[in-house]
């Protein structure tokens, strides 16, 4: 597998191609950004470089991070079995860690498929300055590593307030320790999501639960439809924000411009028609629809209200539990499929992941086990995952 969109050095950290590195072409896996070279690096990249880390290059990513796990990049040929390039680069030992943006669960799913770890941290703890933004209110820059300790190391460097990001929280640092005392901790497994997973994924969850019990963690099961509700709301918000953020790619200023056009409207239409893949177009159309005058109140605005309801429900749940356990995905492997089915496939699989995006919770994919905690509980999640990797 070719991990890289652009290899730049023999470094220990890869960044996926939605993360900007100054002077290195960035395309977010999309034809529409072909030829675009950023003038500045992402804040996380700068912080790593300031600490002496060397960025090895840009790993391939599915167009704007909207697919299952990186299968629909304009720059990487389709493979028979779907794998994420950044996750594989970590798995193979090519790099120690990789940065990626979790827009709609693709990064977590990629970690599951390659059997490595990915942490989508609490919203606002890592600057989004210098990532190619798709869905601003849910996307978050996170870290792949082969083990929780590797994530802990990188998170300590890249997290903390950045004045260049208006959504960045004020704290200068956060706790990413992996050695929390686990005895007495309470976790619960979400029954509905567990039942949707295949036998091999279930087995991983079972093994994780058994190991947690041995460490003195109490494990119970809960039944809730909140993940399903959260997914519907998040897909609406994510599509709406994507439609808006991707509208700047119009062929006028940078990136791809259609060769044939007679006027400005054709320049827009042809460039965007040729520049985006089918899935991105579906997301844009869906997002445009939910923002339209007739639908706004019943779709977009309602989803914002659902977001608050989900937040309240989860806060209540975290009074009784230190973490919620769910599969990252339904299958232990995905085979190649037609892009016309992608919107529905991603929608279905996002039921496992979207809740964390919707309300900014930290979610750690550790193989196919997903550990979701309250805001700022990363240390608990990493400690729970330790040794089980």
């Amino acid at each position: 597998m070719n991990f890289y969109y652009k290899k730049i050095a023999d470094g220990s950290i890869a960044v996926d191609d939605t993360v900007l590195v100054k002077g290195v072409p960035a395309a977010a896996g999309s034809h529409i950004l072909e030829g675009f070279t950023p003038l500045f690096s992402a804040e996380a990249v700068t912080r790593l470089e300031n600490k002496g880390y060397v960025i090895s290059g840009k790993t391939n990513v599915g167009e704007f991070g909207l697919d299952l796990a990186g299968e629909f990049s304009y720059y990487a040929p389709a493979e028979s079995e779907i794998k994420g390039a950044a996750a594989e680069a970590v798995k193979s030992g090519e790099v120690n860690a990789a940065l990626a943006v979790d827009v709609n669960g693709a990064a977590r799913r990629a970690a599951a498929l390659s059997d490595v770890c990915f942490l989508k941290p609490t919203y606002g703890t890592v600057s989004r300055y210098g990532i190619i933004s798709t869905a601003a209110s849910g996307e978050q820059l996170g870290v792949y590593a082969s083990c929780p300790e590797g994530i802990s190391e990188i998170m300590s460097v890249i997290s903390g307030h950045d004045e260049k990001d208006g959504t960045s929280l004020k704290n200068e640092s956060y706790d990413y320790g992996c050695d929390k005392e686990l005895s007495g901790k309470r976790i619960c497994i979400v029954k509905e999501l567990y039942q949707k997973a295949d036998a091999s994924v279930k087995a991983e969850i079972d093994a994780f639960a058994a190991s947690a019990k041995k460490k003195g963690v109490s494990v119970s099961e809960i039944s809730t439809d909140i993940f399903e509700t959260a997914n519907v709301a998040y897909q609406i918000l994510m599509c709406a924000e994507s439609c808006n953020n991707l509208s700047r790619y119009d062929g006028v200023k940078f990136g791809y411009r259609a060769e044939s056009y007679k006027n400005i409207d054709e320049l827009y239409v042809n460039s965007r028609t040729e520049g985006f893949n089918f899935l991105t177009k579906a997301v844009i159309l869906y997002g445009s629809d939910v923002l339209s005058k007739n639908r706004y109140k019943d779709c977009y605005d309602k989803s914002l209200r659902v977001r608050r309801v989900v937040m309240n429900e989860m806060k209540k749940l975290f009074e009784s539990f230190d973490a919620v356990i769910a599969p990252v995905c339904s299958l232990s492997a995905y085979g190649a499929y037609d892009i016309k089915d992608a919107f529905k496939k991603v929608f279905d699989e996002s039921e496992f992941t979207a809740l964390a995006n919707l309300i900014g919770l930290p979610a750690l994919a550790c193989g196919k086990v997903q550990i979701i905690g309250d805001h700022f509980s990363e240390s608990t999640l990493l400690s729970l995952a330790k040794e089980d990797k």
Binding site: A26, P38, G166, N244, V252
Partner: protein
């Protein structure tokens, strides 16, 4: 039939900030070349995030306070989506649901006295860039993108073009005085909503909107033209009125319908997830209030209370540069009424002789203050003061040294005054004899001789007293 004109206004005003609304490019949006006041953020490059310029909030609140608005303590930004090449992100960041100021009131002059115009809201937003067309191509210049604007939306409360112009003049002088905007050419742009109804009718007529005018003169003409067009349609059935957007053509003095496409867009507004809601707490609001300059109405009252003539007040209010000069001079310890007279009467007179208007006055406040103080303290008389003032305005001299060099300042050269008197007495022995014989008029001649030699310097009362003292010896 008698018709009543109903007009509402949307006025965009460019704010005077050091930087743009969401990035650190220069706030004026001016470059020496196209696209040299531009960064990755205001040109819409991926990876950049908007960061709120706090000063924009403060100026918008100040504007709201000056227009008697309620300040929304919780204010948010929305994205307005539309494609146009001068809009790099294909959306404009503006305020729809929680604008920063609401429910204001501005009094305007009308034919029947003063009337209140209700302000619906003031919101903050970013400007777009501009297109330059040349040859077969069009070019985009993003220098202006993200320049901070406020939009002031009134209720349909205007009934004549005069009221509209009076309102706009008031906004302009308030905003210049408040440091909110320099209101230079093009920095104030208006959309005018206009309809006509039979006098006494409650229901509004069909409304048209005339977009994007930036001279008060054009606005006045456009309203007059459009009102007549509506009246002709109603009275004579010349055409059927439809709700539409129109533009005013300066050359022909007419309005024309714009393409329908531009009015029918669904902007798909939604809250901007990249900008957190802004909360204006008591402490911040008090800070802004403390820094707020006095509003035009209060200012008029202040001038009136100081005893400044109504005509002069109007001149000062209409000319913010002059008002600022007077403020500066008063802050240096001069009396307000005196200063106003020195400026509006004396400076204006001096400029008039040179064929210039008062607005062209260019004088350092310290120098004007020095002249006024020397006169007020009795160091020089008023005539001498005026001479100094001429020299200051025409040649930029330093007033104090000018007095010394030209012997205008008796305080610095008291013995000189005495010498002049002694010389006058010595040169006119007959006058001295006449005075001693009881002829008071003789002293007048001696006084005149002294004044002539002093070239108008010196306090006449003091000279007279000194002269009489010497004659009586």
């Amino acid at each position: 039939m008698n018709y009543e004109l109903v007009i509402g206004l949307e006025t965009h005003v460019e704010l005077s900030t050091d930087s743009k609304i969401f990035c650190s490019c220069g706030g004026h949006g001016k470059g020496s070349e196209p696209n040299d006041c531009v960064c990755p953020a205001c040109s819409g490059m991926p990876g950049m995030l908007p960061v709120m310029n706090k000063r924009v909030v403060e100026l918008a609140v100040t504007a709201g306070l000056m227009l008697n608005c309620e300040i929304n303590r919780y204010t948010t930004f929305d994205k307005k989506n539309y494609y146009y090449p001068d809009l790099p992100c294909a959306y404009q960041i503006t305020q729809l649901n929680h604008p920063i100021c609401v429910n204001g009131l501005v009094s305007v002059k009308t034919a029947d006295g003063v009337r209140d115009i209700r302000i619906k809201q003031i919101h903050m937003e970013e400007d777009a860039g501009k297109l330059v067309h040349g040859g077969n191509s069009s070019f985009v210049d993003f220098n202006r993108t993200s320049v901070p604007l406020i939009e002031i939306v009134t209720q349909p409360d205007f009934r004549s073009p005069e009221e509209v112009v009076s309102y706009l003049n008031k906004l302009k002088s308030s905003f210049i005085a408040g440091g909110i905007s320099e209101c230079e050419e093009g920095a104030m742009r208006c959309d005018v909503n206009i309809s006509v109804r039979p006098a006494g009718e409650e229901k509004f007529g069909v409304r048209t909107e005339i977009k994007n005018m930036n001279s008060f003169d054009a606005i006045d003409k456009a309203i007059r033209y459009e009102a007549q067009r509506h009246i002709d349609a109603l009275e004579y059935g010349t055409e059927e009125l439809v709700q539409e957007t129109r533009r005013f053509d300066d050359v022909s003095g007419k309005t024309f319908a714009m393409r329908n496409k531009e009015t029918e867009a669904d902007y798909r507004y939604f809250p901007d997830p990249n900008l957190m809601p802004i909360v204006i707490d008591d402490e911040w609001l008090e800070e802004i209030k403390a820094a707020k300059p006095v509003a035009v109405d209060e200012r008029t009252e202040e001038y009136r209370a100081a005893g400044i003539k109504e005509d002069d007040i109007e001149i000062i209010i209409a000319n913010v540069k002059i008002a600022r000069l007077i403020d500066d001079v008063v802050s240096m310890g001069c009396n307000l009424k005196d200063t106003a007279i020195w400026v509006v009467t004396d400076c204006a007179g001096i400029l008039k002789k040179a064929g210039k208007a008062l607005s062209e006055l260019d004088i350092a406040p310290e120098k004007l203050a020095a002249v006024i103080k020397m006169v007020a303290n009795g160091d020089i008389n008023r005539n001498a003061g005026k001479k100094v003032l001429i020299a200051v305005i025409e040649n930029g001299v330093d007033p104090v040294s000018y007095c010394k060099e030209n012997g205008l300042d008796k305080k610095f050269d008291a013995s000189a005054v005495e010498e002049v008197i002694d010389r006058a007495i010595a040169a006119n022995p007959q006058a001295v004899i006449d005075f001693k014989n009881g002829k008071q008029k003789a002293a007048q001649a001696l006084f005149g001789a002294c004044m002539k030699e002093l070239r108008g310097a010196g306090d006449p009362a003091v000279i007279k007293e000194l002269l009489e003292k010497k004659l009586s010896m």
